[in-house]
């Protein structure tokens, strides 16, 4: 991702097509192949799509077929991102029927079989009740298929109303969409929809205080002297929304912590309170050092934190130390608000069971640390009151298991980076066992925190990957958790051996150390399976009798 944004044109509410087409492509972009299926001139959206995707560090290479109302999908690139954008008005009355929805569902299912990339399908930009019902059904169709996402267009329609369509010369243009609608649709596709289908989500937003969350300098102007505008109020609400969606909020500021406490206490119009922030770095160290402190507190990488700061010098200083950290130079409340709503990889993600739990889980981890000091070994496990819930081949967990495979870096044995489509295929394949592990303890419900991808081969269980969220680490529960899962499959199929695939990555030393300890094999080979008789797994009986409550769904 490009980590700063020259954004005057990208942000402009009435940006001209010519201004977008004049922008010069930045270097270092990652190419993405898009295949577009449409029944109108999508090219008028496609031609202005690149500048928006450049913000996310992506360079689109777009392939168009013929206009096709039938969605025949005759020539499909198996790995390209598929975009389906239809003018539903062309289908007339039949679009309201269940037959039409079944047909569309069938066509999307057919495309899903032929292609492994994300599929983006635009909904119907209309406020009619029929369109509303259709869009509701479309969401349900997309939810049933792995890695199929609805491209939300109704909100753009609502904002533009009569300016959204322009029937004048529609035949010559090949579309009823107005020029401005094409640009707005490209903006939403390029900044939000495509990045959220392709990139891992930014996990935290770290905001500066002075001239970012309010106008003025807290240390100089004082709590009563700073100005909080309506625009700042909108930023607070947007940050709180992100927090509710599971994005960590943090303060990264050169200030006095007592002033911040006083601000929270004495200014009711400052809607953000200390409890909204999962990490706070307020002090006189460099912003770069503060960022590292925040990352440590949140147990995430600095490349997963979006830093919002009004000071270009600070922005440059962070960039020099952390080239991969996404940075937002806050120039005005309006511009900051725009980017909190549109920053690539921050918005547009499907809610999954784990995301909103991150924030509460972090708070709970501090309580666990206190318990660890006072108890030890099995007493600690017992007092934690851990409950594990396992599911075997549960399609409803596909998105979360793919997320674990793709985003877990530390405790990931195989680094297979399975996509949602691949996870779904494995779940349906004979002899494959894909296990999800949900965890709850006395402090909080952590949701799905573990994934085991395995297949039966003769009397051996081939384990292609074990991924455990870093949120679940540090409770000394990894070995019992995995042993209890494997034991169930081994008993069910009457197996004798387990074989773990291990691939060395830049950050998966914890997985390597666990595998060495769990199997008792000192030299785990990189890139191949380590085979161990199940009976010889060290401390197997201790793992299986750990004081943990388990259940299978």
């Amino acid at each position: 991702m490009t980590n700063t944004i020259e954004d005057e044109i990208i942000v402009a509410s009435c940006v001209k097509r010519a201004d977008l087409l004049r922008l010069i492509e930045p270097p270092g972009l990652s190419p993405i192949h898009l295949q577009v299926h449409r029944n109108y001139a999508f090219e008028l959206i496609g031609s202005v799509l690149p500048p928006f995707l450049w913000v996310a560090g992506l360079k689109p290479i777009i392939a168009y077929g013929v206009y096709d109302d039938t969605l025949s999908f005759s020539q499909i690139d198996p790995t390209a991102v598929q975009i389906i954008s239809l003018d539903f008005e062309r289908f007339g009355e039949q679009v309201y029927s269940a037959e039409f929805r079944n047909w569309l569902s069938g066509r999307l299912g057919n495309l899903r079989v032929k292609n492994q990339g994300p599929i983006i399908v635009s909904n119907w930009p209309s406020e009619s009740s029929n369109a509303g019902r259709f869009n509701f059904e479309l969401e349900k169709i997309a939810d049933r298929l792995p890695s199929v996402f609805v491209w939300e267009t109704v909100e753009i329609f609502r904002k533009m109303r009569t300016e959204f369509f322009n029937e004048r010369v529609a035949d010559a243009k090949g579309t009823r969409l107005s020029n401005r609608a094409c640009i707005e649709l490209a903006r939403s596709l390029g900044l939000v929809r495509l990045p959220s289908a392709l990139l891992p989500r930014i996990k935290a937003v770290a905001v500066d205080l002075d001239n970012t969350l309010f106008e003025g300098v807290l240390g100089e102007d004082g709590v009563e002297g700073i100005h909080i505008s309506a625009g700042h109020g909108a930023i607070y609400k947007e940050l709180l929304r992100l927090g509710e969606e599971g994005v960590f909020l943090a303060i990264l500021s050169k200030n006095d912590e007592r002033d911040f406490a006083e601000l929270c206490q004495k200014r009711p119009d400052f809607l953000l309170k200390p409890e909204h922030f999962s990490a706070i770095s307020i002090g006189w160290q460099t912003k770069s050092e503060g960022l590292v402190r925040i990352a440590e507190q949140l147990h995430i990488g600095v490349d997963s934190i979006l830093v919002v700061d009004d000071n270009s010098g600070e922005i440059e200083q962070i960039r020099a130390g952390h080239a991969d950290t996404p940075l937002l130079h806050s120039r005005s409340p309006e511009q900051t608000l725009f980017w909190l709503r549109h920053y690539p990889a921050l918005n547009g993600y499907r809610a999954n069971s784990a995301t909103p739990l991150r924030v509460s889980d972090l708070k709970a981890s501090r309580q666990r640390d206190l318990l660890r000091v006072s108890a030890s070994g099995s007493d600690y496990l017992r007092e934690m009151q851990i409950e594990l819930t396992y599911s075997l081949n549960s399609m409803s967990s596909c998105a979360r298991l793919a997320e674990l495979s793709q985003k877990t870096n530390q405790f990931n044995t195989g680094l297979q980076r399975f996509s949602e489509v691949e996870v779904a295929r494995q779940m349906k394949a004979p002899g494959h066992c894909t296990i999800s592990v949900s965890m709850r303890d006395r402090f909080c419900d952590s949701g799905i925190i573990g994934a085991i991808f395995a297949r039966v081969d003769g009397d051996r269980l081939m384990i292609e990957e074990v991924s455990v969220s870093c949120r679940a680490l540090g409770r000394n529960v990894e070995s019992p958790m995995i042993a209890l899962a494997l034991s169930q499959v081994i008993d069910r199929y009457g197996l004798r051996e387990v074989a773990f695939l291990f691939r060395k990555g830049p950050r998966n030393l914890p997985a390597h150390m666990w595998l060495t300890s769990f199997t008792g094999v000192q030299h785990i080979a990189d890139g191949s399976f380590t085979i161990v008789p199940w009976e010889t797994i060290p401390q197997r009986n201790e793992h299986l009798s750990a004081p943990i409550t388990i259940r299978w769904e």
């Binding site: 001209k16 097509r17 010519a18 087409l21 004049r22 008028l44 010369v169 010559a172 020029n179």
Partner: protein
């Protein structure tokens, strides 16, 4: 807007459309420019409408086949 101002703006938009720098004095025709295809033509019309605040009918759109004809058409629409 004077004719030369219109001319300069049209040349600028045509350069974006065709993907090469066009000289101010150059007369560009659709027939001689393979890059000026039907979709690029529509995009050019959209940019002209944005830039000059004018609207073209389908018939007018079809007739705008050279830089000169575009400048003349815009000048005509801007005439008092």
């Amino acid at each position: 807007m004077t004719r030369s101002q219109i001319q300069a703006a049209v040349v600028n938009l045509l350069s974006i459309t065709i993907g090469r720098q066009i000289m101010q004095t150059e007369v560009v025709t659709r027939d001689a420019e393979p890059a000026w295809d039907s979709l690029k033509h529509i995009e050019l019309i959209l940019m002209l409408e944005e830039e000059f605040g004018v609207q073209f009918s389908e018939k007018e759109m079809a007739a705008l086949r050279s830089s000169d004809k575009i400048v003349n058409a815009i000048e005509g629409k801007n005439a008092p």
